[in-house]
Symmetry: C2
Subunit: 115 residues, 2 copies
């Protein structure tokens, strides 16, 4: 196992590294929504059920810091901030799709229906 350090955190394998970038409860839902359009903070919040302001802000910041999304601030009042996906962010989309389809497959096997 190729274990390594990055930003003072120890990773045991590439899977862990990938999941640290795009895993967690909210990052994939966010990237998924930005995949082919620009969205404002408020739009994302309305579109992602149950997410809180704090979680949305912190996840957007992390995604930005790691180059998956771009944050454009307009100096107006009230504030306007637009989020868009970057080329790097786009590379995550097929991965998310793969995992999503796998999830659907597992759900089907368990007989889960979402109505």
């Amino acid at each position: 196992m190729p274990e390594f350090l990055y930003n003072n955190k120890l990773y045991y394998n590439p899977v862990e590294f990938a999941m640290d970038r795009i895993g967690g409860t909210w990052k994939m839902p966010i990237l998924w929504r930005l995949k082919n359009r620009i969205m404002r903070f408020g739009e994302l919040r309305k579109d992602i059920p149950h997410i809180t302001d704090k979680m949305l802000t912190s996840q957007l910041r992390q995604l930005e810091a790691e180059g998956f999304i771009h944050r454009e601030v307009y100096p107006v009042v009230p504030p306007k901030v637009e989020y868009s996906i970057t080329p790097k962010g786009k590379t995550a989309i097929p991965i998310i799709e793969t995992i999503r389809n796998y999830g659907l497959e597992l759900m089907k096997k368990e007989g889960i229906r979402t109505k």
Copy 2:
């Protein structure tokens, strides 16, 4: 977003469901090692750096409970228990591979070398 309940836990999307089955720090490393051979508890422990007895046991139990692996106990002393992957478990392998390759790609972009 198709939100749903399963075993008293609320899921917001299929990605979350999938990651609950095969995510976390240890499940993919375990499945990865079982992908084409049967292994004993002690072998897995030796092969997966940093994992503790507790984590190995609990993750194996969860994987078994969800049908990804099979647990075969031999009534001998000292104890002998063999773990193998099931057909359902095998369906996870390509997903793990996809995520793993994506992790490697991201690592490359960041210039991470594991020597």
